[in-house]
Symmetry: D2
Subunit: 469 residues, 4 copies
């Protein structure tokens, strides 16, 4: 596309593109994208949904047809489901990926086995035992995606939503260094929204748009740090520091947490972990507390300790149950509202149709000085026509950088493990994780149980099983 | 300022700032800034002109008063001249610097002494014998500026226009690592304008705005390279490569050059050097040919050779004469037209009043991977409120990178020479320059003559004279 | 010295040097040095003992006189005690430092306060709570040493024996970048000796000299790793890997440990931690188990867990008692036996009198690629005349490198804390330590108790006390 | 070998090895190695000579048989010629390579074509037009060697003697990253010998052994710099600096040069270029003047200029004539004298039979900080059993480093050109060379003539010819 299409900027014409969606049967991300596409005044074309659960993709096609037929639709896309990955990708201008690596039942191994050994995880899809195991399942799949993209649409831009974000994105690049891929995550948006609410509290100005809060960020996905925060000429960090210097801010939230757990509000949190990082390390954790807590050893010592910080564990049972609930129907889509995600804006910006600077996950080529080259990091980047240029992140101070570098090392070891089918590297990633404090032999027992439960989804399962003993 | 002022974004109010202008008697840059300020709908406040030639500053104050009284003026600034540097800087929000390091007569040593030894220079203010000598004169002065800024307005943003850009900007940072300075240059704009004219030739679309031509750039000031060039979805580099593959494009321009010289059109050029770099190294030189030619050994072997490429030497005699011409009068300022420079936009963007991404000179903190840390390089950067974040430059291929790294080494050696009053380092910078091909002993004779002619403007003149023998 | 003395290599003459010993009242290291000097056939001159406990230095002078009067003495040194640090250093060719930072009672804060909070430490002088606190006490003292050395004997070589080795050595360089200092430690010798015993077991060849075991090492002091191990053409790592693959090798050593504790054999160990690192990370820990265990989270969970690995805690009570025991007398020095330390050989090698390649602690200038520049690391180095050239360490694989980089970060934060009197940085070093698993607020309580107990030995004690609350 | 053979160190037994010699028909290097092997008291085994000129290899076998039959021979090697490269390499413990890339007539293109365009070269086998062209011929051949070694003797140590040293050695590593290769050169020995003669002049001590002169070196082959020089406690650099500060030292040597040329003493030189580098850049050039002069623009402007420095051009005609002279006969080998080369000592040291630290060419893994990773650089290295560990080179100051980095860039571009058959990269290497000052179009004409004359010895000759036009 990028060499030949002349984009017409006139307001009456639309740019025609093909989007291939891998994991197009997804309940959430695929529908978000469709819901945002229908509001685009600049795009039209085709959207091809590919999913190993072809029926789910077909179901989403029917939903999409209803949505694009909505009287308020700003555009039309031709939506179809396609069982062949190659055909889905053929000629695509953009590829979006959001998949679940294996059935939800595999999350049992990610979450419940560690819990039985005393290792608690709030999410377990990014880092730690669950994150590593899930990454091992993703790597062979993503290597296949990378090869298929390079064969069928090597010039397409690839947007990844799957967790573990850093490892999935890095897999694409390690398998296909010439790929044009990046990973997107809304956790930083959440930090902006939280700051917007605080601004309203402090200045009674009404709730600002999240985009008005200007951050500098640096880190890895789900463990990003805000090293600057401004709003309309005000530096927010001193205000936040004042807030966290008041001990009352960190009052025990056990009661709230227990209520939240009872009411199945798993995603509630009180910004306390993000702010404890600010208090201890000088800069604000810029992701949800559920994610931040998994990268450090201080909050997940016990469920009671976690509740003290106002965070609750998302139980495996609920995840399983939700995966078995009926899918949304077209009736759920009454109003056309933007999802809050940025995929469509990113597509428009890569087509040269609008300016955009936002946070993305990309291999480090210098944007995070002092961090390993090619490790996937999360920073701001400027979207240009067929071009994505990271902004140099402000320096992360040594205390925080040390924690993030450990996470980067986990990614590198996990990638080595997945690419070489090397269980030793994966086990080293696990041993070095701050949530792990079992003796090495007990850690091996735990990891072996996890591997045995998931080996069928890895390449060379027998090799992993042999290691697991 | 940055911590306290609340900027009102309402369309009816203006942000009030203080700008201190060092070199405020300048004929060109100071008037450009004034001419752009008067058109700003967002700024107001005071502009203080400081110059060692106080009369020149006073003269410009009178001009400014006329300009701000123009019926089409969009704003008012209170303009004054101030003899004390400290008072000029006190409380400034922005500092602009454009100076001449010493009287124009010193350019004789920069240009005529080398010429007598067979070393021709088209400009001689950035690199090579003249660039190095001029840099040596600038360094003590800029160290003084840096100290004064840190004393009187440490939070101000400092915009440098003086050449040699890289060394002047680096001097500010080496003297005051906490300074918030950057250097600006319009040479890349010229490349965009040239491409705009070619686009009009190729597509008959009318002349596009230069901002529509989207470049990726990397390099050092006056020796920047465009590694991408797009316009409305078209990749311009293949079109340029076709153009330069036609031998006729490089037809001998001696006649045109001789005419230009006769008519004193020193700045004329035909884009041939920029395009020869494209032909030989794969990417486009993104500065005027007069500048590019000084960084490499191929075009300045003789005046005839230079003319073949359509470039002429700017003679010292003309420079001297121009410096003695009467100053512009208020009558020259009939219409209020933007200068084409970006200083006012940069100020507005640093105040959070508009978005801006443009090319600037900044210490390398990772934006040019593989180049020495802290060397001042020229790349794009995103201007944010009180924050300037370089964009990671695309990789410069080895052939071009080698040439740029030599220039960076010249800067480092010159800075060492100037900070330590170390003539050996300056002489090494000179010996390693591609225009130098004299035996080392003859080079020393030439450099000694240059030093003797300029030593009074250096710190520890006797040390430099002793080296010169 | 280095520029003028002509060294006579003839066997009948000796090189005359001055050695200044800071901490010259020490019971152990000073006497080791004296005991090795007396055996040198190449050195003579003067040894000046400086100690804040001047009587202890004087005591050692008397011991030294007896030793140098021994009939088997190979040389004579004139030994004296000197109360003024400046006079002790004046004109020294070599400076040796081995000090205790404050009275032994301060070790209570290093060891007992953490233990009360559940944090066990086997040694507590290198890393973790005790290591950090001890480092904070050392930094002001070592800054003073560095300044005194640069004033009185700037060309002297400085040999450091004090722990924490990395921070002490780094302090010298941060305070005086031109200093010629290195740190020495015998832990790697212990690994060679252990391997020598295994070689004898395996091949029945008799016990080889430790020098015959050729290692490649990389890491930081007390957390070095052997990435190669050869003896007479045999690669020892495969043999060790076979050994550790036998589960019986790691049989529970609780009984042995309890016996050792009962018999006050605190330094006993069974090489199990070093070998567990080999088993898990592929390369051998090259320091005693007591040290290795403190850098990772797996062995010090409880005293019972530690005993399982055959290691015992060295109790504070014993340390205190030993510091109050009577000093050795001349009668204890009946035979002149080498200490096994290498200080005298290093001195000889730096004088050009013998070849030597051994392990030393030096700022990283490239010998450990991928590790921060200037961090003090432990690798092999070749000693030459007035010149110490590190050998490039073989690559440390990611799993082990991640652990070592965390330790390097601890050093950097501790140095920042000590140089800037910044308790936040010290607390971050502590929070990031793998032995710490307390919630951050409890960790702060513990650290505050430690700081209050030791603040008198820090610069700006009130600043530290204010942080401690 | 390295895993299984137990080396017997007893004085009566010898270690048995197989050496494969690629280029075994060579007149010089192969005979040097044989002449040194016969003196080894520690080695025995077999030496297999492989050469595309099989008769030459067979001739050398006969010479070797005579040499090993010499009554003073310390050992016996079984020497044979082998036409199959694979069979020659099979099971080798060491591989030595010294080849001529194509017939001597090709040197015409290396030397005479540039000369016709005004570009003079003293040697033309390392850098500049001749060095680049010769490198292009070597790369395909060396890629083949690397593949054959990895197939037939992947654990062998490979010693390269062929020029261009850096590119040949780098080719082995780029083709086979796991290879154990290094390059050797005696130019640094020549610097030591020159210093030995000066020491005798200065101190009248008799001529010291070259090994007594202890250097620190850094650079690339034939453009190494000595940053320290000591002899028995004396720092030689100040003495050298005094010497070069006397202008008479640099008196015009035209007469001597003309006599040398007339008498065909091409290799004569007066150390003037090495010392001019010392005078200008602070450190001593550590290679012969003929080599040093080719890396910089100052000495080869004309033959008269070169003669002024006492250096003469080695004419192509003599090279051709020498290649056609009769080979040495066994009668030429009357006495068994060491060659002065170090190959046999290196082999012994890699077998663990002796200590050795010497200068070698190896990929940069950190031993030259600030230089590109993996570029082949020349520094000291410590030889250990089956292990070669570079010593960290002392820092090269910016002025000299800039010149060396240009040479490294030439290597990288030439390697890219040879591996990818990319004439543009080769031409960029040429354009950036300091001896080149032709306009780019004339340079292209020259390079095209060179390529047309040598294309048959490159891969894809038609691609190179097409570029040459």
């Amino acid at each position: 596309m990028y060499d030949i299409t002349v984009i017409m900027n006139s307001s009456t014409s639309k740019t025609e593109i093909k989007i291939a969606y891998i994991g197009g049967g997804s309940r959430c991300w695929a529908l978000n994208l469709i819901g945002d596409l229908v509001l685009s005044t600049q795009l039209t074309g085709s959207l091809v949904l590919h999913d190993i659960d072809h029926e789910a993709a077909q179901y989403n096609v029917r939903l999409a047809d209803v949505i694009f037929a909505h009287p308020a639709a700003a555009t039309r896309f031709s939506v179809s489901a396609e069982q062949s990955l190659g055909r889905a990708l053929k000629g695509a201008d953009f590829v979006v990926i959001s998949i679940e690596p294996g059935p939800t039942q595999l999350r049992h191994a990610d979450l419940e086995i560690p819990a039985r050994h005393g290792i608690l995880q709030t999410v377990g899809d990014t880092t730690g035992p669950g994150g590593i195991l899930r990454a091992l399942r993703c790597i062979p799949t993503y290597r296949g995606f990378a090869r298929a993209i390079m064969e069928h649409c090597p010039k397409a831009w690839v947007i990844n939503y799957t967790n573990p974000m850093a490892v999935c994105t890095a897999t694409l690049y390690r398998e296909a260094p010439g790929i044009k891929a990046f990973g997107c995550c809304h956790e930083v948006f959440g930090t902006q929204q939280k700051l917007a609410r605080l601004i309203n509290d402090w200045f009674k100005t009404g709730l600002p748009e999240r985009n008005e809060i200007e951050l500098d960020i640096a880190g890895v996905n789900h463990f990003t740090w805000a090293t600057r925060a401004h709003w309309r000429g005000r530096d927010l960090l001193p205000l936040l520091r004042d807030m966290v210097n008041d001990e009352k801010f960190f009052a025990n939230r056990r009661a709230e947490a227990e209520t939240a757990a009872a009411e199945q509000r798993w995603f509630d949190h009180h910004f306390l972990v993000a702010c404890d990082l600010l208090r201890r390390f000088g800069f604000l954790g810029a992701a949800g507390d559920r994610h931040l807590a998994e990268f450090v050893p201080w909050y997940l010592g016990s469920e009671a300790e976690l509740h003290r910080w106002g965070v609750v564990l998302t139980p495996y049972s609920w995840r399983l149950q939700r995966s078995q609930e009926p899918r949304p129907t077209a009736n759920d889509q009454k109003d056309l509202l933007p999802s809050g995600e940025e995929g469509v804006q990113q597509i428009e910006a890569l087509l040269g149709l609008r300016p955009l600077t936002t946070n993305v996950n990309l291999p480090n080529l210098g944007q995070m000085p002092g961090f390993p080259e090619h490790a996937v990091v999360e920073t701001y980047a400027e979207f240009r026509r067929d071009n994505l240029r990271p902004l140099l992140a402000g320096p992360l101070p040594e205390g925080a950088a040390c924690l993030v570098k450990r996470a980067v090392s986990e990614h590198l070891l996990t990638l080595d493990a997945g690419f070489d089918n090397n269980p030793h590297a994966a086990f080293q990633a696990l041993l070095n994780h701050p949530l792990m404090r079992l003796p090495t032999d007990q850690a091996l027992i735990m990891f072996s149980e996890m591997l045995n439960a998931t080996a069928d989804y890895l390449e060379q399962p027998e090799k992993w099983r042999r290691f697991a003993g």
